[in-house]
Symmetry: D2
Subunit: 345 residues, 4 copies
Amino acid sequence: MDSPKKIMLQSDYLEGCHPNILKKLYETNLLQTEGYGVDEICAQARELIKKHLKSDKVDIHFLAGTTSTNQIIVEDCLRAFEGVITVESGEINVHETGAVEATGHKVIALTKEYKLNPEVLDKFFTVQENDPLKEHTVRGKMVYITFPTEFGLLYTKKELESIYSVCRQHDAYLFIDGGRLAYALACSDRTGIKLEDLPNMCDIFYIGGTQCGAMLGEAVVIINDELKRFFRFYTKQRGALMAKGRILGIQFCELFKDDLYFEIGKKAVDLAVYAKEALIKKGVKFHVDSYTNQQFMVLSKEKYEEITKKFGLFYCSEDNGQIICRFCTSWATTKEVMDQFIESF
Amino acid sequence: MDSPKKIMLQSDYLEGCHPNILKKLYETNLLQTEGYGVDEICAQARELIKKHLKSDKVDIHFLAGTTSTNQIIVEDCLRAFEGVITVESGEINVHETGAVEATGHKVIALTKEYKLNPEVLDKFFTVQENDPLKEHTVRGKMVYITFPTEFGLLYTKKELESIYSVCRQHDAYLFIDGGRLAYALACSDRTGIKLEDLPNMCDIFYIGGTQCGAMLGEAVVIINDELKRFFRFYTKQRGALMAKGRILGIQFCELFKDDLYFEIGKKAVDLAVYAKEALIKKGVKFHVDSYTNQQFMVLSKEKYEEITKKFGLFYCSEDNGQIICRFCTSWATTKEVMDQFIESF
Amino acid sequence: MDSPKKIMLQSDYLEGCHPNILKKLYETNLLQTEGYGVDEICAQARELIKKHLKSDKVDIHFLAGTTSTNQIIVEDCLRAFEGVITVESGEINVHETGAVEATGHKVIALTKEYKLNPEVLDKFFTVQENDPLKEHTVRGKMVYITFPTEFGLLYTKKELESIYSVCRQHDAYLFIDGGRLAYALACSDRTGIKLEDLPNMCDIFYIGGTQCGAMLGEAVVIINDELKRFFRFYTKQRGALMAKGRILGIQFCELFKDDLYFEIGKKAVDLAVYAKEALIKKGVKFHVDSYTNQQFMVLSKEKYEEITKKFGLFYCSEDNGQIICRFCTSWATTKEVMDQFIESF
Amino acid sequence: MDSPKKIMLQSDYLEGCHPNILKKLYETNLLQTEGYGVDEICAQARELIKKHLKSDKVDIHFLAGTTSTNQIIVEDCLRAFEGVITVESGEINVHETGAVEATGHKVIALTKEYKLNPEVLDKFFTVQENDPLKEHTVRGKMVYITFPTEFGLLYTKKELESIYSVCRQHDAYLFIDGGRLAYALACSDRTGIKLEDLPNMCDIFYIGGTQCGAMLGEAVVIINDELKRFFRFYTKQRGALMAKGRILGIQFCELFKDDLYFEIGKKAVDLAVYAKEALIKKGVKFHVDSYTNQQFMVLSKEKYEEITKKFGLFYCSEDNGQIICRFCTSWATTKEVMDQFIESF
């Protein structure tokens, strides 16, 4: 455990939650509501999100935790012998202790690139469809992408449209893991993608709360009708239907009452990019060119050890004596902290 | 959805959480901590619980939700072909959408009685051990009981000791689901069982938070060393390792800082028994003789419909035109509400 | 292991296979064929069975072993949270080491009776459909019956029609496990059910080979179109798509080339009933009134021990010092052996 | 389906079985034996194999089919969150429809090379052990190799010893899939590995029957005591405990009564290498340098189409207009057929 005096920058889930949410928890605490997410607070949260999505036709479910959410979506979408296609660095492939495989499904890691390329995807499907021994291989039926990606990268509207188009051509679902969606949406000038575009760009996605200022919670948005009917059954069977479901509704009521979700994203992204640019000027190298709240530096071992005496960083990997490590900003990060951090280099 | 004016008594998870917990959430909100339950708040909560248990040798993990907790414990304890023994009315057998079977394990429902009888259990194990075709049947390896039971019943110290003794004789684990443990502990005069006794009476159990005044959270206590090593792996793989694990720590810090957990239990139990006794005097029949916060009435259809116009009750089943239905008390129930409820009969 | 001199009557899979099958194995041994069941021998076997079924619209797949077949059919039919309804004594509930649960599905044991009653079934579905907390319980979506049952009992045409009618009313599949179908078909005078009737009486069933004179093999007949498309994928994923699939085809080519399957059933049934009647005359009690190749006697311990010195019997259970035990006939049983057996009482 | 006149060389499971096995099936057909593999024929087969292994301490189980065998071994060895390490081309990773994932376990594909390199393996384990977030990644606990590999390659004694040594250093099991073991053993001059060496070189392996002249069957050899106790339970639960288990025993009785297994391997390997050398002289290119019964040619599309008019080949993949395709020899292949095949180029 880190000493309390060290400033922690390794992730975006190191503080509690945005104060507005706490306030709402207080205000509603004595209100009696039904359990399991059929209460009026959840209903209100759903309405607020639909308004932002400019769509009435989607189903919205509130879950807690990204790994659990990924599992339930995979189970909702796939038959036993079908698999999920992702990049090698995909969260579900590397950091979830085989949670997807634990549901019985193969994760098909298509490429070492950090973003999924529609052409690579199209080729995969074509080979699959021409395979004379179809029954002997896992059928890739769902494509999984994170937005932003695990390394903070972004898809443009055109890229995402291409991927979705390939999916539809080959009768596969597109699932967008938006665990950190606020930070991607803060870059809509760069990507061309607004929240309201997502219902036209995939079959199912989720709006991450836990890593974007909520105490806990992810809002699953189901667009494709085929995927709607049994979602609550899968949720309950996986132990993810919260008794006090209102707690999740409260998070999203506040995040989407006005534009809080977007403000949280923007603030964190601005601070992260501010730090990145300052550090580049100081000669620090970055592993990738991220414009989101996650930044991946490449430091010498000595530098890494020096910095981590004062600041918590997330260790990713070591390559030829160089260490790839992450710093993150969140709703709670201040400019003062970022300045101190920049200073320390 | 019930109208907001109706007083809801169908369960004990219809309000937010005890105000002390909200206060602690506020106070710690800006504190930076590690994720995934290795933070100092969780550490503190573990220490407080151990103090109450008067045991230093147990492992404690914080999870959210009883179904999820049951699944993870089952996975931690059993090999693929092993099963869980329970009564037919056991929560895992009837109200979790096959969550245990979804982990691949059979739930072996031993009896229609609401409490597990040590002799019935012993006979089951004896038959199993003498079966010449052992490999053709599921091996009952874990016994599951709820305390209090699904119908609010209690085991006495002697009964629990007998069950545990049978388990040990037959090389099986005893797992106590304490989703509503506070209400059983409030009856220790009646049962002879205090919290500190539990580490001597089973292999693994949990202290329910969600249904006992917390916003969410269950504290798993692992006593048997065989079950300790990999619990976090199972938790993560099941999507149940919360990123902001401190939220769970905070619940249990408050519940066990002083005697809050016990006070919550006592208050609810007292009010429930108060209502039960008053209702009996008014001629209301009860399905079982419960001394905990769950009370099961047997009402005519007409009476049921009349009462549920003003009070939310949990419908259990119908038998010969009579309806079995539950009312519950919680940390938030007041004597005024109970008096109104009694009055309405 | 039993001494070689003891005559074994405990089951119907104690010898090799009908000599016609061995002959066919010899004749085709050097023929080259495709693997995995797409060869011309399997194609021929499918045609022969379809001719007997008087139906061209069914899909037929050859598998090896009843437990494996049950698992694959369950996986083909059910979503994760759906379960299989059966009687308590159902093979899948008691003698397959939790094979169905291992696929993640609950086995819902509806009754202690040995045969499923359409009214009990109808009531179950009605309760299920009216359950306000549907997502909290396993959804019974498939009904499983064995024909003949585990205790050798038979359904009449009317009974089976009632069960199937209840299934269709409640949007559930009916699956008939015909592991010992030959022996039920030998009783068509009594039941009114011929092989050609089955495609009108359920959604999926199988024609057992292993226990009806084949070396190994069960022929799955899929009637309901919804269940056809992916059967081979499930089969392969479960490790049940035999490389030398022709071996299975050969079994069914011989069994259905002429009327061998029916002759095997009839011969065994006649001998079993012959022995039953003779034994009843000698005062032996039977647990149920079976007209198939399985007969369940109720013997005193002393008698059981005396008889099992000379004849292998299958021990079922003990009740008040009486032993329920089974004797079986098969394609290989002779009248001489049955006479010796009768004599010994 | 191929026309009957075409000579099929695509695999080694296209004919029935070695005539000695058929003969034994005939001779034992009327013998009565216990079911489920506890009969005297299986016992005898176990003794014969143990004699060849020069080891009395191993457990031997007979299963049918390699995919099923792989699944059961994986389940026997691993906890839910543990995974199997293999090369990308590993059978379990590409050709079993996600059978391993269907048991809940991740297949960790370590390298694009066709053989597993002990150094790569060692590095993987070292990274795993130093991972500060162990619970967030699948724990590689078993190493899977095929011998010979999917592309007919061989490990030398030294290579296998290195791999096993790395496994033991890192507390992982080594599992050798010997689906085509006969053909590797036929190359013991080249590898230095005899059958009797295997119990010293891994924790568990199997001796393939189906692809080495048997009608069906694989003999699992368990060396590590930790893996012995529950193997039959896993087998039954997976639907793989054959009722007429003696059929499997018969296969291995014949294969190991004398040296039939070794003769089958040698004959096929000699013919394959004979053809390879002749084809190389004729200018045919090979994808890898295999010395076993599987040979992988690289043909132009035109050549591939020309040849496959007369001979069945297994299509592997296409790369830049060149086709990689396999021909195999088996116990049934004759020199005449090979000469015809060579001639056709």
